[in-house]
């Protein structure tokens, strides 16, 4: 049969996938300036897998939010995220995978690359259960296990998530403004980059391998297969059990609408009796072309008009001046005592500040003059931050007479820091950033950050990323010998 132009146009599903990807990543200015969106819309989780550290992301990733909520479930239950996942699972279920997941779209586009394709078989069916193990171990067990040790650990994000590597890490590193961030890359990035390459390479030969074998979000939504409201439904009275639908599907389904079905609707047009339709409850959303009611086109056009208006609104809101939460303005910057300019850069005099200490009292930076000073910006919800605190403690214990160490908690506090610190025997002073200290030292949304000032208060080191005790000692020792 000769092809027409219509055969080359994107399908309705592809347009919805593109739309969802655009809507989730409406913060265009994030790509231009190499930072992330900090607006209030991030209180909402998007339904699909979309890293919230992606420069364009305007919503939270449900999987990242779930892991972090579990990791801090010692302080408060993860009810909010569980409620959102329940709502998404119940209403849309794995229809989200088929229509609303940007990483699903990326995989499908890679699958377009010509190659010999591996069809589903018994092995892939067995492998499709692996995602439940990933969910149990990396999303649930690891965050809960580390929660007992007061360490927030999103296991899946840290060790596996290729969406985070592609959208978050690579997305940020690609911008010249984040050139410094390369300095913190090591084994973690290498490992995750290799996982990303394997997943994307695998997509060329297999249909959506990440969704089928690894995605814990798909595993969660799959649990709602029997109850989700929107999805592909089979009219039992018309079905002849011919099996063409299951044979046509590229996912590891055993029947239409089961926990592996992503409700893409590919089987709708294959069904010879028109028994299959994408429905919202009993209302048909997509039927066989010849069964569609004439009113359907008008309704679809109206829906697209509303959707495009929402997208336009999101673009204006996120890229306008009012979308983001303003960082606290730096205050209490002391006048320079000499010709040295004050600022966060190496060679500049570190901006002076005072901050309230946890446990009472106030920390004055000017009071440490004559000592080497190590500033650490941290937060209880930041995994690498809490992991490196013992290094600062050891430094303080070893060089406490000549080195002042201060750990400044981010102004974004999610739990009782006093109660958190009570679980440890730290002797270093802990302060709260209530006056824009992080901003004054050039900090952004990235934590942890370490700054070293020499005896005259001049910045000799200012870097985002984890540090080891050896690195700290190597930074401090030469300054003590001066």
């Amino acid at each position: 049969m000769k092809k027409t132009i219509k055969d080359y146009l994107p399908t309705r599903r592809r347009l919805i996938q593109l739309y969802a990807a655009l809507l989730y990543n409406a913060n265009v200015k994030g790509y231009l300036r190499g930072g992330i969106f900090t607006g209030a819309s991030k209180v909402l989780c998007v339904p699909g897998l979309n890293c919230y550290s992606c420069p364009g992301a305007v919503g939270a990733c449900p999987l990242g939010a779930l892991q972090n909520a579990l990791a801090s479930s010692g302080a408060r239950g993860p009810w909010y995220v569980l409620g959102i996942l329940l709502l998404f699972g119940l209403t849309l279920g794995r229809t989200i995978c088929g229509y609303l997941c940007p990483f699903g779209l990326i995989q499908e586009l890679f699958h377009k690359i010509p190659s010999s394709k591996l069809k589903k078989n018994r092995v892939t069916r067995v492998l499709s259960w692996v995602k439940y193990a990933v969910l149990a171990v990396f999303v649930i067990a690891i965050p809960l296990w580390y929660m007992l040790r007061h360490v927030p650990m999103p296991g899946f994000c840290k060790y596996i998530c290729p969406a985070g590597t592609l959208e978050g890490a690579v997305g940020l590193l690609a911008h010249p403004a984040n050139a410094d961030a390369f300095s913190m890359l090591n084994i973690l990035f290498t490992r995750k980059f290799i996982i990303l390459v394997l997943v994307l390479g695998g997509c060329v030969f297999l249909y959506r391998p990440f969704c089928r074998f690894l995605c814990p979000l798909g595993a969660i939504y799959g649990l709602f297969a029997r109850v989700n409201i929107v999805g592909v439904k089979v009219d039992a009275s018309k079905c002849t059990n011919c099996g063409l639908c299951v044979g046509h599907c590229e996912m590891d389904i055993r029947r239409v609408g089961d926990h592996e079905c992503i409700h893409c609707g590919g089987c709708v047009d294959v069904c010879p009796t028109g028994a299959i339709a994408l429905r919202a409850g009993t209302h048909p959303l997509r039927e066989r072309a010849k069964d569609e009611a004439p009113k359907a086109l008008r309704k679809r056009r109206a829906a697209w008009c509303v959707a495009l208006a929402v997208l336009a609104g999101a673009l204006v809101y996120c890229n306008g001046p009012w979308g983001e939460i303003a960082a606290p303005e730096p205050t209490a910057v002391a006048a320079a005592e000499d010709e040295l300019p004050t600022g966060p850069e190496v060679g500049q005099r570190g901006p002076d500040f005072s901050a309230p200490l946890y446990g009472g009292g106030t920390f004055e930076l000017s009071g440490t003059r004559g000592k080497v000073t190590v500033l650490n910006f941290w937060a209880t919800w930041c995994t690498p931050c809490v992991n490196e605190l013992p290094h600062f403690e050891k430094l303080y214990e070893t060089y406490g007479e000549d080195v002042a160490v201060i750990a400044v908690h981010s102004d974004l506090v999610t739990e009782d820091v006093d109660a958190y610190l009570a679980g440890f025997d730290y002797t270093i002073p802990f302060a709260l950033d209530d006056s824009g200290i992080v901003a004054a030292y050039g900090g952004s949304a990235m934590l942890p950050q370490t700054i070293v000032l020499d005896r005259d208060g001049v910045v000799v080191y200012n870097q985002v990323g984890s540090v080891t005790y050896e690195q700290l000692e190597a930074l401090v020792k030469p300054l003590l010998e001066d």
Partner: protein
């Protein structure tokens, strides 16, 4: 035409594997080079960072001809494949049978779960869970996205 497409698929498949291996090799080599004993001035203290923008750019420049060549082949292959594409006849696979949930029970179940979801969201918003999500989402946990 059909035979040509088959050959094209094999070629692009092999090239895909080669490009993937190239990327993996470069990433692993950067890591190994950055962690050689010569790059340490003291235990745990590196002379040069493992990764830097310059190192990555230099490595990419080395593999760029292969990557651009691969992309050109893929592009040509996509055009050729699109022109030759024939719809595959679906094969039949007997679907598994399950007992459907009775409509009335399904409706009750959905309403109950919907009410639970709404209650959880409201409760979570009140107890600070929503703010937690916001705080995590507007800050970058460097380790969580694989930066380190």
């Amino acid at each position: 035409m059909e035979k040509g497409v088959r050959v094209l698929r094999i070629v692009t498949g092999v090239l895909t594997l080669a490009v993937c291996l190239l990327f993996i090799w470069q990433a692993a080599d950067i890591y190994i080079t950055g962690n050689r004993p010569e790059n340490f001035s003291a235990p745990g203290v590196r002379v040069e960072d493992v990764y830097s923008r310059e190192v990555v750019a230099e490595r990419f420049a080395r593999v760029a001809p292969a990557v651009y060549g691969y992309l050109a082949v893929v592009l040509a292959g996509l055009v050729w494949q699109a022109a030759a594409k024939e719809k595959e006849r679906p094969r039949a696979v007997a679907p598994a049978q399950t007992r459907p949930v009775p409509e009335k029970r399904l409706r009750t179940l959905r309403l109950t779960l919907l009410a639970i979801a709404a209650a959880l969201i409201v409760w979570g918003a009140v107890n600070g869970g929503a703010r937690d999500v916001l705080v995590k989402a507007v800050n970058i946990c460097t380790e969580c996205i694989g930066l380190g």
